[in-house]
């Protein structure tokens, strides 16, 4: 497979996503007159803001040929640590710092076992998923902790700049930083190189272990920020806060065309995938489709997004040379 056809396929992927996005928007416009209203457009981001922020850092992790299944549990743990410390009578600043520290620490533990012990990230972060959620439950047990200061809740709920909430602004800042890091910096190039082949990267003098460590710490830290955001948006924290979010987050990244085997994928694709998923969910909600059916449709979309290009390629090779297609 030469370089050109690979680029062609990548182009195809993002074109495909863009076409799906336009179709989704058109269907939504025909479904409801309220869809295009500014309030609905802001809401659509606002309701999933924590997931899409974590999806940004998950993109880096998957390009690096790893996976982090524990993000939702770290979100929950950070939210619980925040609520626990606040409930104990400490200041807001202390509570937020404690939550961020725990998030980074949880990421560092993942990173240590993946990078330095050399265990598969699927297993390490599966253990993390179970253990960090368990720790969150140990802290909060079956209570629900709320009563955060009004200013804190407002930060998660009310518009800060024009119609945009703090979380949405944070997402766009994060997106801008990630684009620069991934497309313009040495760190970003190394992420791709290690994702392509860790051996080649290490022979080329890239410190792959440190890179993986940094990425997992970053993932834990960003998840903790998202956890604090969800505490502010909902105004209360329980042991099950953010449970099951990892599936949505990973779906966004994979639908965006990031290869599960690492080494390829762009933030443009992930951005488009986020837009598609948010708009599809929004449209289905406007059409009174239940939450579970929505998740099912998105699952179907995930499979089709890989299946359809594969089938198209297969048809194309059959059509192009019907005689030699058997001997590649």
């Amino acid at each position: 497979m030469n370089r050109k056809s690979l680029i062609d396929r990548l182009l195809q992927w993002e074109t495909l996503l863009a076409i799906i996005f336009v179709v989704v928007v058109l269907i939504n416009i025909s479904l409801s007159p309220f869809y295009l209203s500014l309030q609905n457009q802001v809401n659509l981001f606002h309701l999933s803001i924590e997931k899409i922020i974590v999806a940004l850092v998950m993109t880096l992790i998957i390009i690096n040929a790893e996976i982090d299944l524990s993000v939702a549990s770290i979100m929950g743990l950070a939210a619980c640590v925040f609520a626990f410390v606040w409930d104990d009578g400490f200041t807001l600043g202390t509570a937020i710092s404690a939550a961020l520290l725990v998030g980074a620490l949880a990421g560092a533990i993942n990173g240590f076992f993946v990078a330095y012990v050399g265990l598969p990230s699927l297993v390490v972060t599966l253990a993390g998923l179970i253990a960090y959620r368990g720790l969150a439950r140990v802290l909060v047990e079956d209570r629900s902790i709320g009563d955060f200061p009004e200013g804190f809740d407002a930060l998660g709920q009310d518009p800060l700049f024009g119609p945009l909430t703090f979380g949405i602004i944070l997402f766009f800042i994060g997106l801008a930083i990630m684009i620069v890091v991934l497309q313009r910096s040495g760190f970003g190039r190394k992420t791709y190189v290690v994702g392509n082949s860790i051996e080649v990267a290490e022979y080329s003098g890239v410190n792959a272990k440190r890179l993986k460590m940094i990425l997992f710490i970053l993932s834990g830290l960003v998840s903790a920020i998202a956890g604090i955001l969800i505490a502010a948006r909902l105004g209360a924290v329980r042991g099950s806060t953010a449970e099951g979010f990892e599936l949505d987050i990973i779906t966004m990244v994979l639908l965006g065309g990031v290869s599960i085997f690492g080494g390829s994928g762009t933030l443009t694709g992930v951005g488009l995938a986020i837009l598609i998923i948010l708009n599809m969910r929004n449209g289905m909600s406007l059409a009174n489709v239940s939450g579970n059916a929505q998740t099912g449709v998105i699952g179907l979309l995930l499979i089709l997004s890989v299946l359809v290009p594969n089938l198209l390629q297969w048809v194309q090779t059959k059509l192009n040379d019907p005689r030699t297609s058997g001997q590649t």
């Binding site: 076992f113 012990v117 050399g118 265990l119 598969p120 699927l122 297993v123 390490v124 599966l126 253990a127 993390g128 998923l129 179970i130 253990a131 960090y132 959620r133 368990g134 720790l135 439950r137 140990v138 047990e141 042991g239 099951g244 599936l247 990973i250 779906t251 994979l254 599960i260 085997f261 239940s290 579970n292 059916a293 929505q294 998740t295 099912g296 449709v297 998105i298 699952g299 179907l300 995930l302 499979i303 890989v306 299946l307 594969n310 089938l311």
Partner: protein, 357 residues
């Protein structure tokens, strides 16, 4: 002594150590919890092992082949619910027909997974992440917000979990536990002795090499997912029998427990090695810990998941650090008759000197 070590494979050593850890855990909780050594404790652990072990057996086959099935929880919930629905509507159906029905339903869902993965070339993790959501959505929509309730089910099914296969001193072996054991033993024999089973290891060790060698990789993939689905069907049937009341969220999140059991049982997540007995031991260890921590007064029951996560990490770390060395040492010491690596090294040095001169 050397002879002994050479005749025992590192994988068997690992299973032996799991048995030891389970024994230690039982002794520990026995000293901590009053009335721990009671047939009821055994039964409680055994009946929670039964469901998980059957599903873990299917997952093990998939993982040995370097794949993964994240949709098992949804398949178990799906088959539990719809088998229950059918039994409510036609209570005269025989037990054997009901279990076959559940297996066919699960097998069908598994075939869909397998076809997409093998012939659609979609990575297993993406496919089963998708079907995890899809099967659950179909279940929720098909259920119309109605639950299965115990009182509507035929009495033979409600009594099934307490049905004894045979009594062994004071300990009663339940029929469902026997069923799970039979499933595990059948598939352990299949992967050890059947060509189909050996193919799983070959494909898991190196899919490309297996394809080059002419093994029917695609067909085997579909068959393994079909079997995994059918075993989830049995799991669903047992789930229905044990809990009676089935809502649309039944068995949600079970995939994590199952993958955890398989990994603790020493099945390599990258394929090519592991056994069903190991996965069964992993399941037993996890179920023992879960049931015992519930009754241990020293720490709150909320510690359960935190301990479980730690256990998985511990199991995989020891596997990676200790067994890797053991395995290579075992490989060297069984290759030739020259007993120790040291003399072998000396021979090589002599050869090198000869070539050099």
């Amino acid at each position: 002594m050397n002879q002994f070590w050479r005749n025992i494979r590192p994988e068997q050593l690992r299973e032996l150590s799991l048995v030891l850890i389970i024994a230690l855990a039982v002794l520990f909780f026995g000293s901590q919890i009053e009335n721990y050594y009671h047939p009821r404790t055994f039964n409680r652990i055994a009946s929670s092992v039964a469901i998980l072990a059957v599903v873990a057996a299917g997952q093990t086959l998939v993982v040995i082949m370097r794949n993964i099935d994240l949709s098992v929880g949804s398949i178990v919930g799906f088959t539990a619910y719809f088998t229950g629905r059918i039994l409510v509507n036609s209570p005269e159906m025989s037990p054997v027909a009901a279990i076959i029905l559940a297996m066919l339903m699960g097998g069908g869902l598994g075939v869909i997974n397998g076809l997409i993965i093998a012939y659609g070339n979609v990575p297993a993790i993406i496919t089963t992440l998708g079907t995890l959501a899809i099967y659950r959505a179909v279940l929720v929509n098909g259920a119309n917000a109605e639950s299965i309730i115990t009182s509507a089910l035929p009495t033979w099914l409600v009594d099934l979990p307490r049905l004894n296969a045979f009594t062994f001193g004071e300990i009663q072996i339940r029929a469902v536990v026997l069923l799970a054991l039979i499933v595990v033993i059948i598939f352990q024999l299949a992967v050890t002795f059947l060509p189909w089973g050996r193919r799983l290891y070959a494909i898991g060790s190196n899919p490309h090499a297996a394809e080059m060698a002419g093994l029917p990789v695609k067909r085997t993939t579909v068959s393994v997912y079909a079997i995994c689905g059918a075993l989830c069907g049995i799991g669903g049937f047992l789930f229905l029998a044990r809990f009676g009341t089935i809502t649309v969220v039944a068995a949600q999140g079970m995939e994590l427990q199952v993958v955890a059991a398989v990994v603790v049982g020493g099945v390599n997540i990258f394929g090519g090695s592991g056994s069903l007995i190991g996965a069964l031991l992993g399941t037993i260890l996890i179920a023992t810990l879960e049931q015992s921590l519930l009754r241990w007064r020293v720490i709150s029951e909320f510690w359960r998941d935190a301990v479980l996560g730690l256990l998985i990490l511990l199991a995989v770390t020891t596997d990676s650090l200790i067994l890797k060395n053991l395995r290579s040492w075992w490989g060297r010491s069984t290759q030739t008759d020259s007993p120790s690596p040291a003399t072998h090294q000396a021979e090589i040095e002599v050869e090198i000197e000869e070539v050099a001169s």
